[in-house]
């Protein structure tokens, strides 16, 4: 990194400044983030990040912090929560029933054929990336993989060292559902299935 780059991005030149930069991170981070991580990414003091976080939390809760504003701020539908692991944006807890109705809508108790096939690929080829599952199944599997993770049947294991892609594997919940003690007990599928070698080839 060049010395110039160490100054970090010119946040004041960006719309919304540091506040917006912190929001941007919080909005898309897929796990809780600490104020230290945010400070490091933005190259600003931890104390400023802490101040921004406190202010955002209050703002989302409808507590006005803008001195020039007399009106009442309505709370937003999301809130900023801090746990030991860090900060994360959640749906506001009062809306849990609404959110649940939305999430449960269209969900069925049984897995679709597409989900079963994807699960089979993960079970027999783990650790495996989404790209590779897609290559084997010939279709985009992002949605199905999400469903299987939500269902607790598969989980993110690690990242591939080379490509950085997230690798998936099955869970103990999956073993429970299958009624087996370990993956070794999965029935053999013919090891010399034509095409398995070719499939390796499709990898991206």
């Amino acid at each position: 990194m060049s010395p110039a780059a160490e100054d970090g991005p010119d946040l004041e030149a960006l719309p919304g400044g540091v506040r917006a930069a912190v929001e941007a991170i919080l909005m898309v981070a897929d796990e809780p983030v600490s104020e230290y991580e945010i400070a490091a990414a933005l190259v600003v003091p931890v104390a400023s990040v802490q101040r921004v976080l406190d202010r955002l939390r209050a703002e989302y809760d409808g507590v006005g912090t803008d001195p020039g504003y007399d009106g009442t701020l309505a709370p937003r539908g999301f809130e900023l929560r801090s746990t030991g692991a860090g900060w994360r944006i959640h749906s506001r807890s009062e809306f849990a029933p609404v959110v649940s109705a939305f999430v449960a809508e269209g969900q069925t108790a049984r897995l679709s054929q597409a989900a079963l096939e994807t699960l089979a690929v993960v079970a027999y080829r783990q650790p495996v990336s989404r790209g590779r599952i897609s290559a084997i199944r010939g279709v985009n599997v992002d949605g199905v993989v999400r469903t299987l993770v939500q269902r607790g049947l598969i989980r993110e294991l690690e990242r591939d060292g080379e490509s950085g892609a997230v690798l998936y594997g099955t869970t103990t919940f999956f073993l429970e559902k299958m009624g087996i003690g370990s993956l070794d007990e999965l029935p053999d599928i013919a090891p010399h299935l034509p095409g398995i070698d070719q499939i390796d080839h499709y990898e991206d």
């Binding site: 999430v103 079963l116 599928i189």
Partner: protein, 309 residues
């Protein structure tokens, strides 16, 4: 795409194509046209054509596995160039017989194809820019809170390990039906080879008497054969076994055999006319994945028309 390969084949006179982004024969053709600042709608493509053939040949000589070795691609371009060459001989507006009309249409078709390809290439750049700009907005996609996830209907699992293995087996078995469609829309007509046509020409001319091109193609039977026979003529001229004479632009083309005693045979042509068949197992360079070959592996110099569709 093929970073291990040299940036360009040797001996092509500094001709540079965007090989990293190589996307097919039309691409090469277009970059040649651009290099010579030719208007694509004009017929003056002779230089381009010759350089292109050289380029193909050079690629072949260095044993490149690049796109042009792909049989189907070579066929389409070869046919395109043949027709461009043939079309150049035709006077504008002079449409006297059926063959002329066919060739004129072939020429228009080829220009239309190149123009069309160029247009799609340009909008592909726009799509790329748009998608790249869009990818700077990262979508929110976070795991559900456990309390929300808890409302999902309880999983109703009825699959036995044996059934599960059966599903796995079916997924890992290559689907046979999938690539059933063979892209031959652009390939049309019977195979006509330069070598065979050259042999016929040699036979017709061996007595040493001059003959007009019109006479030489009188028995050709199809536009395709006329075009291929014309290319054979060019190849033989290159080998210096023919003399060509044309009294005036667009006039009668007279051909005379001068190859007596040179030991020339038509077999020589197949050696350097761009052998496409031996690389039929090369991976599809377009996306890095293996492509099942939709086209039959052709003989070395077999040319199938892309213009008679």
């Amino acid at each position: 795409m093929h970073p291990e390969e040299p940036p360009g084949p040797p001996g092509t006179g500094g001709f540079a194509v965007q090989l990293e982004d190589f996307a097919g024969p039309f691409e090469v053709l277009l970059s040649l046209i651009a290099k010579h600042e030719l208007d694509i709608t004009r017929i003056a493509l002779a230089t381009v054509t010759d350089e292109f053939l050289q380029y193909v040949r050079a690629l072949h000589e260095i044993g490149s596995t690049r796109a042009l070795d792909e049989a189907s691609e070579f066929l389409v371009v070869a046919a395109t160039l043949l027709d461009l060459k043939a079309a150049r001989l035709l006077p504008r507006g002079e449409v006297e017989d059926e063959e002329d009309v066919a060739l004129l249409e072939a020429r228009d078709l080829l220009f239309a194809r190149l123009l069309q390809y160029k247009a799609f290439k340009e909008v592909a750049v726009l799509l790329d820019e748009r998608m790249r700009a869009e990818s700077t907005r990262l979508p929110r996609s976070v795991p559900l809170d456990p309390e929300v996830a808890a409302v999902l209907p309880e999983l109703d699992w009825r699959t036995t390990p044996q059934q599960f293995a059966e599903i796995a087996r079916s997924v890992f078995t290559p689907r046979p039906g999938a690539p059933a469609e063979v892209g031959v829309d652009h390939l049309h007509g019977t195979a006509v080879t330069v070598r065979d046509e050259a042999e016929i020409l040699a036979g017709l001319l061996e007595d040493g008497a001059p003959r007009s091109f019109r006479v030489l193609v009188a028995d050709a039977g199809s536009t395709l054969a006329v075009v291929v026979r014309f290319l054979a003529l060019l190849e033989m001229y290159r080998d210096a076994v023919l003399e060509l004479a044309q009294e005036q632009p667009l006039g009668e083309l007279t051909v005379r055999w001068t190859g007596a005693g040179t030991g020339w045979t038509a077999d020589r042509l197949s050696e350097d006319a761009g052998d496409a068949g031996d690389a039929a197992d090369a991976a599809d360079p377009a996306d890095g994945g293996p492509a099942p070959h939709a086209h039959p592996s052709p003989d070395a110099a077999r040319l199938v028309s892309g213009a008679s569709a």
